[in-house]
Amino acid sequence: MDGLNEILSLVFNATLVRSTIRAATPILYATLACVLTQQANILNIGIEGIMIFAAFAAVTTSYFAGSWVLGLLAAIITGVVVAAFMAFAHLKAKADIFVVGMGVNMLAIAMTRFLLQRTFGVSGSFHHNDIVPMPRLNFDFGGNALLDTLFNDYSLFEPVGIVLVFVLAFILYKTVWGLRLRSVGLNPLAAETAGINVTFRKFEVMLYSGVLGGIAGAHLSLGYSRMFVENMTNGRGFMGVAAMFFGGANPFWGWIGCLIFGFADSLGSRLQSLGLPSQFILMIPYVVTVVVLTLAMMRKKRAETARKSAI
């Protein structure tokens, strides 16, 4: 019994909160980017590629210019450029957004691998002491160990992400801009009739999601870690898409989805270090998302049937 307690206290302690937030934040930015575009009915599957490009731009700029602010700016600009290309391909050149997204993901992996070799002469990963990371937030709690573990030593964009969830929720649900954006996604014809330029809105929203994707990449390479690794997103963009679906394109519920992903991730690695098969824990978020999606759609269908029979 003591052994079990010991194991439980090893797995579940205050640092689990931290590692959950730490693991969830890169996914959170991807989720918010997808939430924005999904509200305009664009499935931004290329967020993974945007993040990889941005992460590379951030590391390169931070290394050469010696400033994380410039790195972040470069990442955002890169994200916007890639997103603008995707928007052009989808809206102007009539490409399927799904194909464009997958193409951009592939391009990002191949091109950053290529640029990594050309610029730094390394393959696989690049880390160097000259890469300036993002600052970490530290407060003085007078040596209180619990508060220290819970609230100290966060990378700058970890708390910013949480604030952004609420900002985005406010913009989407409480402002005119948000209402118009959602109307573009819900019924483009009605939106067009109401005088909203649907194509322009979609383009605009893609650019904003490029900004968020850029931040996601910069955070991944300068905040979450301090290097660039080939394919360093490792599916986090897809997880962002999944969390967006989990939350039904609502930023708040999307955030909850990210926290579940982050929680399972940190729990999995802890259990693995104890010699348990972590794979089943790591599976949980994906299974949960599928189940939640299915339940949501079942409920929707039942509501529709009920409405029909009432008529």
Partner: protein
């Protein structure tokens, strides 16, 4: 809408190769020499041709799997997961059954793999058919579940207790005969081509295939004329999953000889892109898969002999896919040139 013209595909290929040549020139290499070495690296010598075939088989099968699902209007992004499940099922059937004749053992392995991954493919199919759950999302998520599940199996019950996580080596009777030695190409190539022809014949020359395409184009009308759209959609997904599983089985039985944890570097995603460029046209699937396989194999030779990095070829492939996707791009410029020529005439 789902029609490709040979002309536009060819034009995209030429344009992307030209862009690649530009990039090679910028890097200070000779593009003609680079492309010459690329095609030498793909076509000269048994080893190189075998290398192309080795890559072609899984690419073509996964592309076919995607194209079949697209026929019932489902985007099956989960072929990667099906590939993994098929691979581990075939590996298990390959080492667990002993003393069988190859003519029994090989079909048995194929069958086990196809049943496992077909059943896996049925799940998103059923969710989409009955409750309209977004299949792109579900299949992406299920890929992770499948890969973690195989990773668990290969680490625990199916482990060979070797230094790397892999299953025991399969019996000799489950091995696919190698052709074109010393490459790892094998008779899986003929299996794959046979499946391609069979699927094409089934889709376009049988009642069942007609129903499948019918449902993909208009499920409401299918329901009206008495074709059950939900069931047909699920069957389409089962077929798609089974083809994906077959690709995994051939990888294990012909190339590796055992299931290796995380063995696929996104093969099915490349296959999916090949199918997407082909606009899910079954006749174009082998052509584009072969093209991608040639580029990927030849890139190695090109890197060895000219120093042009092979990652550049991956970049060119991605550009090619993006260009091919932007069908409006050429139409746009054509319309503009038509207008300008009209102005000249006036």
């Amino acid at each position: 809408m789902y029609k490709t013209s040979w002309g536009s595909t060819l034009m995209t290929i030429i344009l992307s190769l030209a862009l690649g040549a530009g990039a090679i020139l910028l890097l200070g290499y000779d593009p003609i020499e680079a492309y010459y070495q690329l095609f030498r690296g793909a076509f000269v010598g048994k080893f190189n041709i075998g290398g192309v075939m080795e890559r072609f088989v899984p690419l073509m099968l996964t592309a076919l799997a995607f194209a079949v699902s697209a026929k019932v209007a489902v985007f099956n992004v989960g072929v990667e997961g099906e590939l993994y499940l098929g691979a581990i099922a075939a590996a298990w059937a390959g080492y667990a059954f002993t003393g069988l004749h190859p003519l029994v053992h090989i079909p048995l392995c194929f069958a086990v793999a196809m049943v496992a991954s077909g059943a896996w493919g049925a799940i998103p199919g059923a969710l989409k058919a009955y409750w309209k759950v977004n299949e792109v999302c579900v299949t992406i998520l299920m890929n992770y579940v499948a890969i973690y599940f195989t990773s668990y199996l290969v680490g625990n019950p199916f482990s060979a207790r070797a230094s790397i996580p892999r299953t025991p080596t399969i019996e000799e009777s489950a091995r696919l005969l190698r052709i074109l030695r010393p490459s790892r190409a094998n008779i899986g190539l003929f299996v794959a081509l046979g499946v391609l022809v069979l699927v094409w014949w089934m889709l376009y020359h049988t009642n069942w295939g007609y129903k499948l395409r019918h449902v993909g184009q208009n499920p409401f009308f299918s329901e009206y004329v008495g074709i059950p759209p939900k069931k047909v959609m699920i069957w389409g997904m089962i077929l798609s999953g089974a083809i994906g599983g077959l690709a995994g089985a051939i990888e294990v039985m012909g190339i590796h000889g055992h299931f290796l944890d995380n063995f696929s570097p996104g093969i099915a995603f490349d296959g999916m892109l090949a199918s997407l460029i082909a606009k899910n046209d079954i006749r174009m699937v082998p052509v584009l898969s072969l093209f991608l396989a040639v580029l990927k194999t030849g890139a190695l030779g090109m890197e060895r002999f000219t120093g042009v990095p092979k990652t550049l070829i991956d970049t060119i492939i991605a550009v090619f896919i993006l260009l091919a996707a932007m069908e409006g791009l050429f139409a746009y410029s054509r319309r503009r040139s038509a207008r300008s020529s009209g102005e000249e005439a006036a």
